[in-house]
Amino acid sequence: MENPKPRLLLVASGTVSGALYLLLYLYEREIMAAFTRTDGWFPVLPVLAAFVFSFAHGAFTGYFWEVLGIRALRKK
């Protein structure tokens, strides 16, 4: 039997991903100021942000294709 489509997970991850991108849009100026500082631990910020966005948005895009019915054909 086919697995049920993860619609709820798609909505949840989509909300988190959307919220993160909304924050980026709303606080663009502050984020750019902090993320381009070269003192202290500030250079870690772009790496951290990339990880956080990849987890949230990566989950969303994964569920997106799954809900659309595009899943891997397991040949083995």
Partner: protein, 355 residues
């Protein structure tokens, strides 16, 4: 250290949409062949007014999380050899240092145009030779009627696997190969040198893992994502320490490319293995044409040729058009072969199992 906030552009809606679209197509190609995209993303950002160094830094910052998601996805399909990826990445990192140092020296000795000429000639030479070889192999597999069969290791790979050097032998389980580290080291190193020169190390890394080490195309292209993650991560830290990453560009690219990379990764389970080689060869050969077109421009800048400014502008535009064409051709082949694979897969699934 210098604060370079003045170099960051104001983002327009048109730019954002373009970044999303290029990100998606670049991600699709990366998910399928393990690399690609950077050769279009960086010049595309520069054409929006982003300084070259910020474009490179932002591309790297989007590359490592993209590669992470792609590697995670393809690992679920059993295609990633993490150990091979990490071993290759270790020597690739050394290659990046040496390659960057060499490039700096060329820039000092021959100026910006000399450095551009070197990069373009490296592109044309490597991509034409390796691309033609990969294409020839793909055509051979197709003609032999064994497109569905497991890939056979090349003669070179069989020899490499037969060489026993005590104390250096490593077994790579997923790639199902046992080779001496003395072969993986120069290969990873060359991948790093190429990555620092033309930004796409995978054009050496993937064919190298296939034809020199004997890894299957699917495993080689998936393992390249591990190398891309390590190199992108290291590169991001390096540029971030100088405040050069435009996080907005990186995250907007990521928004599109994560859709693409997941689709490309899923696509590898739909198609016959030799299609990886077809896509790779097509992209490499078209990119070679693109870089070949700008060689006369740099020769003119160096005073070796005498081209009219309008001709130079036309050649540069044509060169960029060929880069976009390379990415689009790759994507169209991927999507078309996925659709074909999906249809035949669906038919196979409907067929009753033999008694």
């Amino acid at each position: 250290m210098e604060h370079v906030a003045a170099q960051f552009i104001d983002l327009q809606y048109g730019n954002v949409l373009a970044l999303l679209a290029i990100g998606f197509v670049g991600g699709l190609v990366s998910g399928f062949i393990g690399s690609g995209g950077a050769f279009v993303l960086t010049p595309a950002m520069m054409s929006m007014g982003v300084p070259g160094v910020v474009a490179v830094a932002s591309n790297l910052c989007h590359k490592f999380p993209k590669a992470l998601v792609g590697a995670y996805q393809r690992n679920k399909f059993g295609q990633v050899d993490v150990k091979l990826g990490l071993v290759m990445a270790a020597s690739a990192t050394a290659g990046v240092w040496v390659g960057a140092d060499f490039q700096n020296r060329i820039k000092l000795d021959f100026g910006e145009a000399g450095s551009n000429l070197y990069v373009s000639l490296a592109f044309v030479a490597v991509l034409t030779i390796v691309g033609a070889f990969v294409l020839r192999d793909a055509v051979r597999v197709y003609r032999s009627g064994e497109a569905d069969a497991q890939e056979k290791a090349s003669r070179l790979a069989l020899w490499v696997q037969s060489v026993e050097i005590p104390g250096t032998m490593m077994h790579f389980k997923t790639a199902n190969i046992r080779v001496s580290a003395l072969f993986t080291l120069p290969l990873g190193f060359a991948t790093g040198v190429l990555a620092s020169t033309i930004a796409v190390g995978g054009f050496i890394g993937v064919p190298g893992m296939m034809y020199v080490l004997g890894a299957p195309g699917l495993v080689a292209s998936a393992t390249e994502l591990v190398i891309a993650f390590v190199m992108g991560f290291g590169g991001t830290i390096k540029y971030s320490l100088h405040g050069l990453v435009d996080i907005r560009l990186a995250l907007i690219l990521l928004a599109g490319s994560l859709f693409g990379i997941q689709l490309g990764a899923i696509g590898t389970t739909f198609v016959k293995p030799f299609m990886i080689k077809v896509v790779m060869a097509a992209i490499m050969l078209i990119v070679a044409v693109s870089r070949g077109l700008v060689v006369p421009v740099y020769l003119t800048e160096l005073g070796r040729l005498d081209l009219a400014p309008s001709t130079m502008a036309w050649l540069q535009m044509a060169s960029f058009a060929f880069l976009v064409l390379a990415l689009c051709t790759g994507s169209i082949i991927i999507i078309a072969s996925m659709l074909r694979g999906h249809r035949s897969g669906a038919i196979t699934l409907r067929e009753p199992a033999p008694d």
